[in-house]
Amino acid sequence: MKDNRPYLYPPLASRLFSVWFRHMRVYTKNIFSNGLPPFLEPLIFLAGVGLGLGKYITQSMEGLTYIEFLGTGLLMTSAMFTASFECTFGTFIRMEFEKVYDGMLAAPLTANNLIIGEIIWAGTKGFFFSFAVLCVLTCFGIISLPRGLLAPFVGFFTGLMFSVIALLVTSFVRTINHFNFYFTGFLSPMFFFSGVVFPISNLPAYIRPFAEILPLTHSVRLTRAVCASQYNWYLLLDMLYIIAFILVIGFFAVNRLKKRLVY
C-alpha cells in the first residue's frame, strides 16, 4: 500500500495546539459549572470586604483604597489557584486515574509536547480567571479600563509560573493526598505574604526578603503597576524573575515528570 501522507508527523506547533485543544474541549464541555465560579469567587470576596471588613480598613495601601488594593491582588491569586489545581490534582488524575496521558502518548505526541501543552493550557486558564476577576472589578468601578486589560496577560504568566511548580510537585507525589501539603504549606502562606491582602512593606524587615522569593509577589506588583499605569524600572526585575522562574522550574518539571510518563 503506497502511503502519500503530507508529512512524517505533525509539526511542533500543531502538536502543542492539539494538547491545548483537548484541555479546552474538556473544560468547555461543562461551560456553566466550570465558567461561572471564576466570576462568583471575586464577587463573594468583594462583597465580604465591601459590606463588612472594608469599614475597618480606612488607611490607604500603596496609594490605593483597600478594595482597590485587594481587588488587584485577587486578579493574580485567582490565576495562581486555577493553574495550581489544574497541574496538581488535574494532572495527577489524568496521569494516574483516568490514564488520559497513556491514550495521548499513543498519538504522535512526545511526553515533552504533552507537558508543555499542559503548561500553556494552565497559562490560558490563568488568563481567563484573571479576566473574570477583571470583569467583576470593572463592573464595580474598582478598575478602570482600558489599562486593566493588560492584567489578564500577567495572569497568563502567573498561570505558567504556578503550573511549572505544580508539575514539579506532582512529579514527586505518589498519592493524591500529598497535594494537601502543597496547598496549605505553600500556596496559603503565599496568599498572605505576597502583598495580596496587605503590602509587604508592612512585614518585618527580616521577612521581606523571603516575600521577594515568592513568585506571587512579582505577579502582584506587576499587576498593580499595570492597573494603575505606574511603570517603574524595577518592574523589569519582576518580569525577569517571572521568565527565569518559568524556564528554570519548567525545565526540572518537564524532565522529572517525563520520567513518570515514559519509563
Binding site: 512524517l8 508527523y9 505533525p10 483537548r22 474541549r25 483516568e98 491514550g103 499513543a106 498519538a107 505526541l109
Partner: protein, 308 residues
C-alpha cells in the same frame, strides 16, 4: 517473502532488579498478525510499549518499526501506528464524537477529513448510533470498540493491541476478530497480546510465547501444536489414578500432567486414549484434540511464579 514491518534484536528492559524483557529478538512481516502469549508479567506489554516509545529500552539491542527507531523517531512511528492499550483510557468527560474529534487533532487531520473519517470508523466498529453518548453510558464492549476506532484514526499501517478482547462477551469478541481480519487483509500489520488461546489461534499468523521476559517458543499456531504437544488429550476430573488403570506399556507412550482435581493424559494415538476411557468407570472424562493452551502450559509451566 513480504517486507518486514518490525525488527527487534537482542532487546532488554529492566525495572530495578526485575528483567521485564530479556534479550528478546523477533521479526514481524508486513501485513501479518503477530501475537504475544505469556503469563502475566512475562513482558508482553513492556515489549509493545518499547515499540512506540512509551517505554525506553535497555542499552543494548535495536528496534526498528516501519523503518524508524523508536528512540529517535517515536513521532514518525506513532503517526503511522494505532495503539489499543490494556485499559480503556477514553476521555470520560467527553462524548463519543468529541473523544474522536479531540484525537483527530493529535494527527492534525483537517476538520472535514476528520469528520468523514470518524463517520466511517463509527460505522466500521458498529457504533454509529452511539455518537452522542457519554463514555459512561457505553458498555465495556462499546468502549473497547471505541478505543479501537480511535486507534484507527490515522489509517495506521501498524496496529498494536494489548489484550483487545479481555473481559468481553463472545459476540463482541467475534466482531472485533472480524474487524481485525478485515484490517489485515487491507494491509495493516497487527501486533497483539492475549491470554485467550483461541484468539491467538483465530487471528495470528505467528505466535511468540514469552515467559519471564524471554521468548521461549515461536511459530505459526499449527507449527506450535505440531512441534510441541501431543495430538490428543484425555482429561479426567476427580482423583482417579491413571496408573491404576494403565499398564506400564501404555504409561510409556503417554505424558501425564496432573493438577489437584484434573489429570490430563497426552498422547498422539487417540485409539490408545479411547482404550483407557473404557476402564474409567464412573469418572468424568473428556477426550479432545490438544490445543494452544496445552502448548502454553507445557511451555510456561503450571506453577504460578512471583510475577503472576
Amino acid at each position: 517473502m513480504s517486507p518486514v514491518a518490525i525488527t527487534v534484536k537482542n532487546t532488554s528492559k529492566s525495572f530495578g532488579k526485575v528483567n521485564a524483557v530479556a534479550n528478546l529478538s523477533f521479526e514481524v512481516e508486513a501485513d501479518t498478525c503477530y501475537g504475544f502469549l505469556g503469563p502475566n508479567g512475562a513482558g508482553k506489554t513492556t515489549m509493545m510499549k518499547m515499540l512506540y516509545g512509551k517505554c525506553t529500552r535497555g542499552e543494548d539491542g535495536s528496534i526498528n518499526v516501519l523503518g524508524y527507531d523508536p528512540a529517535k523517531d517515536e513521532l514518525a512511528i506513532k503517526y503511522l501506528s494505532g495503539v489499543v492499550p490494556q485499559d480503556n483510557n477514553l476521555d470520560e468527560e467527553l462524548d463519543v464524537i468529541s473523544n474522536l474529534m479531540v484525537y483527530s487533532r493529535f494527527y492534525a487531520l483537517p476538520r472535514k477529513a476528520a469528520t468523514s473519517r470518524i463517520d466511517y470508523l463509527l460505522g466500521f466498529m458498529e457504533l454509529s448510533d452511539k455518537r452522542a453518548a457519554r463514555i459512561r453510558e457505553l458498555s465495556g464492549g462499546m468502549q473497547r470498540r471505541l478505543v479501537i476506532a480511535r486507534a484507527l484514526m490515522n489509517n495506521p499501517k501498524l496496529l498494536i493491541l494489548d489484550e483487545p478482547t479481555t473481559g468481553l462477551d463472545p459476540q463482541v469478541r467475534h466482531l472485533i476478530w472480524d474487524k481485525l481480519r478485515q484490517l489485515k487483509r487491507h494491509g495493516t500489520t497487527i501486533l497483539l497480546t492475549t491470554h485467550y488461546m483461541e484468539e491467538a489461534f483465530a487471528l495470528c499468523d505467528t505466535i511468540l510465547i514469552m515467559d519471564k521476559g524471554a521468548g521461549i517458543l515461536r511459530g505459526s499456531p499449527a507449527e506450535l501444536l505440531a512441534q510441541n504437544v501431543e495430538k490428543h488429550v484425555l482429561e479426567i476430573t476427580g482423583s482417579h489414578s491413571v496408573e491404576a488403570i494403565a499398564d506400564a506399556a501404555i504409561l510409556q507412550k503417554v505424558r501425564i500432567d496432573r493438577t489437584q482435581e484434573t489429570t490430563r493424559v497426552y498422547c498422539d494415538d487417540d485409539q490408545l486414549l479411547r482404550q483407557l476411557t473404557g476402564r474409567l468407570e464412573g469418572a468424568h472424562y473428556f477426550l479432545r484434540p490438544a490445543n494452544l493452551e496445552d502448548v502454553f502450559l507445557k511451555a510456561t509451566g503450571r506453577a504460578l511464579n512471583e510475577r503472576q
